[in-house]
Symmetry: C2
Subunit: 206 residues, 2 copies
């Protein structure tokens, strides 16, 4: 692509580094900004700079937080003996929005994925081991996506903590509510049969 302006070319190249955004889309986005009030672009640019410069993580659960201890960790009503291990802030938000979990979180910050150069050292695993060693935790719930990387991460963390006497659990895998059985993949359907639950239990929502 030949640009008529270095300024435009530079901006396109920067925007096109974002995942899923190519140079054409980047150009479209920039031309859109050009048609909007100048303030919108300045606000956007400043928000990105501030976000990356001032971002902070909760020292306890490693979730993104503006203060030292995030709202969830600082809430005395949460059950401190229950720790849900998740990949990132999106999973915390998703689980919080269900309103079904009253414990604390532990954000790993990713999944073990050698192909992306992410090993256990890049994740917040050491602090989880320390937490468990304090013996105040009764159950560790693994809530990672059921992918190769997710399962590898769970297995690794589990092996590190095996010696302790906490209870380990993973979120239930099965047919999604509202899904058609005929469209479910065989592995999920197979698991949901072998791990079937008593009918009375399935009626309870909490």
């Amino acid at each position: 692509m030949d640009f008529s302006s270095k300024l435009l070319e530079n901006a396109v190249n920067e925007v096109a580094q974002l995942p899923g955004i190519g140079k054409r889309t980047a150009l479209r986005l920039l031309l859109h900004l050009l048609g909007r009030p100048k303030e919108q672009s300045l606000d956007l640019g400043n928000a990105l700079i501030q976000f990356r410069s001032a971002i902070n993580f909760c020292k306890k659960c490693h979730n993104i937080s503006d203060v030292e201890l995030c709202e969830i960790c600082a809430n005395p009503k949460r059950n401190e003996s229950l720790v849900c291990v998740v990949e990132d802030v999106r999973d915390v938000m998703a689980i919080e929005s269900t309103g079904q979990f009253n414990g604390l979180y532990h954000v790993l910050g990713g999944k073990i994925s050698p192909i992306d150069g992410i090993g256990p050292q890049q994740l917040n695993i050491e602090t989880l081991i320390q937490k468990v060693n304090l013996k105040t935790i009764s159950e560790v719930i693994f809530a990672l996506s059921p992918t190769m990387e997710g399962d590898t991460t769970i297995f690794y963390v589990f092996k590190q903590l095996e010696h302790s006497d906490v209870l380990f659990s993973t979120i239930a895998r099965g047919i999604s509510v509202g899904d058609d059985l005929e469209y479910a993949d065989e592995i999920t359907l197979g698991r949901s049969i072998s791990k079937r639950i008593p009918y009375e239990n399935s009626l309870k929502t909490t």
Copy 2:
């Protein structure tokens, strides 16, 4: 969506104002940036701010340009009597990349679209009329997308310039090179038959 950080929420809201990007995608993009070196986010933010603050337009053709007169308008080898009317910088880039056009451009900056609040006053039409009135132009080529808005814009501009003795033309509409006839829409196929060209002409590439 409940965010654990005002900083994150603010950034998500700003990014989600871009067309085609929702809050989920915005969050994904920001978490991606968080996993990259800090410089990338700062460069991106600064590129956006600089782009919008320092952006300049060629005073002759209204294309985006870092200098007063863009490269194309300043090039003495280009044919000044040929003016190609386009919507925006993307069309200039597309036509330039064909290497088939040696004249100058006139960038309207949009198409007449009452539904988006864009009337003739918002476009660079007045300066085109002034250019044509200088009587140095022999042909005006309309290269706008063959949509309702594009056709309306062409018709409006044509009506403004009708009195002058320049030649008006539009880019040829027809079957794309490599397209299957059976999949072409009826209007395009119909036009390409009624506006058929002598076979010898179709063999020339320039």
